[in-house]
Amino acid sequence: MGTQVRDQAQELLTLYERMALVRRTEKAAHDLFLSGLVKGTTHLAAGHEAIAVGASAALRADDYVFATYRGHHHTLARGATPEECLAELMSRATGLCRAKGGSMHLTKAATGMLGSYAIVGAHLPMAVGAAWSARLRGTGQIAVAFFGDGATNIGAFHEALNLAAVWKLPVLFVCENNLYMEYTPIADVTAVARPAADRASAYGIPGETVDGNDVVLVREAVSRLAERARAGDGPALLEAETYRHFGHSRADPATYRPAEEVERWLKHDPLDVARGQLTELGVPTETLAQADERVRDVVQKAVDAAKAAPGPDPREALTDVWADGGAAWRT
């Protein structure tokens, strides 16, 4: 194996292990929900791993990321630990948001993961604002908004794209097109074939598509568009095709999806794709098995630690409204 191939294999192995960590964490979230330890709902990202991991690998550590209520993968990809994510889902004091956010609002501001937002499309203008701020401060940072195909039919999407284009801001809009807005096929409710990419021309910005289950291709595309944005050439839109392994949320068994379609996409699993690429690069099966084993171990320890962690102090309910830490609304 030449040096170049060895480096390539090592990098890809790292990405594979991160994707496996997301998959394993999502599996744990699923199991914990079924055992009653996670309340409310979850929107699992199993199947979407390559988009978060590939994009994150293409970004600078100080870039900004905004995600949706299906945001576990982005939070993990930006450096949050499975333990702090699962603890949040399990309403533990040690959770990322100290049990005030829950599954739909995972945030790790310290690593530039500026939040998971549960009103469809709302965070696209925020990403525009973060990119505007980066420009004003001259930091060379960029902002990335990840969103689902359903968000492309909401007003905030269009307002954000236009403003970003007019101000030529360093922001990327990355659509995770998993073919269903929630339960309804996106194609049934959208006027164009590519719900995101086909809208780009209306705002005079690049609109590309990529196989969202191929982590190498995602990283490549995001790298290219990020470099362009950083150089001052403005925003771009990337539509990554992918597929959910679970339903829209915990309430949804996803019976509306044709069996043949599900089967086809499961055969194009992002982890399998990466495994195939690693094998082609000469990485032995045992190496992959060792990576899987490390991931299993990390997630198992995370589950155990989250289970053992205490719940929040009830007094926490009346903190953190204001910057002074309090909640006083009157004298």
Partner: protein, 336 residues
């Protein structure tokens, strides 16, 4: 403690409420390079109400940004910028249009700090022209301060004088919390003494703008001059009304209101927003909880009628509280 404003201003150049808005923003932009402005027609045009005149000239296009008619993008971008080190001042041209970006004011800006467990702060100001009296009809005349008042996590400022515009703008922009800043359209042409340099009016401090021992009138923004004029007329009838300018709805200065009631034992709120859901409902509920023993008479609310704002002056004055309505209400209450 409340401010007691007394005496007459010295003979000096007066400034309008309208000019005070631009002056208040400019003072903060001079002292803090993180302050930037965005909104529709605010830069080259100086604002449709001329409340941002001179900002582009003094601070340049890098700090004063014209936007498209995209309320969600304006307020959403302000939020993203505020989370990442800037202090944006966003203008929503008419407060009625807050409805177009209500998601940001209801779901995003006031909640993001809380739901992230305190990981982020959102130091921004959303300025907006509020209220009626100019004959703009149902979609450009509403007093919408009560909309914001339903949402924990927003501070709400609504100044009544040019000096307060400047002092409260300073406090709002320096605040690490989000502030909705209501500029009253009916007061834009009103004049007052300019405040001294570095004038800051802390948010959440009401002002007793007229002292009196018989009844407390609590008012906000354009209802402050209405209450003051009513107090003047009542004075001629021998009724001494104390007038409290709330200045902010959040923080709500109940201490000043309750202290005034301890002196007067009668309460009338004067609100431009509709009676239905108006801020006075919350204020009197606190009085009922904590100041019931101070009262010698029922509380009265003079508030907007619960209809859309009509166009004709003759109709609009039936809906928005007038001096006559306040006088009649106080007169009846004094006789209770």
């Amino acid at each position: 403690m409340a401010d007691v404003i007394d005496g007459q201003p010295a003979i000096q150049r007066q400034i309008t409420y309208r000019e005070a808005v631009a002056e208040g923003i400019a003072r903060e932009m001079r002292r803090d390079p993180a302050v930037v402005c965005l909104g529709e027609d605010i830069a080259a045009a100086g604002g449709v109400f001329k409340t941002t005149v001179g900002l582009l000239e003094e601070f340049g296009p890098g700090r004063v940004w014209d936007t498209p008619i995209s309320e969600q993008a304006i307020v959403g971008a302000a939020m993203g910028a505020a989370m990442t080190g800037m202090r944006p001042v966003a203008e929503i041209m008419f407060s009625d249009f807050l409805a177009c970006c209500w998601d940001y004011l209801a779901n995003e800006i006031p909640k993001v700090r809380y739901m992230t467990g305190g990981q982020v702060t959102v130091p921004l100001v959303v300025r907006t022209a509020n209220g009626g009296g100019l004959g703009f009809g149902a979609q450009h005349s509403q007093a919408t301060e009560n909309w914001a008042f339903t949402i924990p996590g927003l501070k709400i400022a609504a100044p009544a004088t040019p000096a307060d515009v400047i002092g409260m703008m300073a406090a709002a922009i320096r605040s690490d919390d989000p502030v909705v800043f209501f500029e009253h359209k009916g007061l834009l042409a009103s004049k007052g003494a300019p405040p001294p340099p570095d004038h800051v009016v802390e948010l959440g401090r009401a002002a007793v703008v007229r002292e009196g021992g018989d009844v407390t009138l609590v008012a906000l923004a354009s209802m402050v001059p209405v209450a003051l004029e009513a107090a003047q007329r009542l004075d001629e009838e021998g009724i001494e009304a104390e007038v409290v300018d709330l200045r902010c709805l959040v923080p709500l200065d109940m201490s000043t209101v309750l202290a005034s009631l301890a002196r007067t034992s009668r309460l009338v709120t004067v609100e431009e927003n509709p009676y239905q859901g108006g801020w006075g409902g919350t204020l009197v509920s606190v009085v009922a909880d904590e100041g019931f023993g101070l009262l010698d008479a029922p509380v009265r609310r003079v508030a907007g009628e619960c209809v859309p704002l009509p166009f004709a002056d003759a109709l609009e004055e039936q809906v928005i509280p007038t001096v006559d309505k306040v006088v009649a209400t106080v007169r009846a209450l004094a006789a209770y």
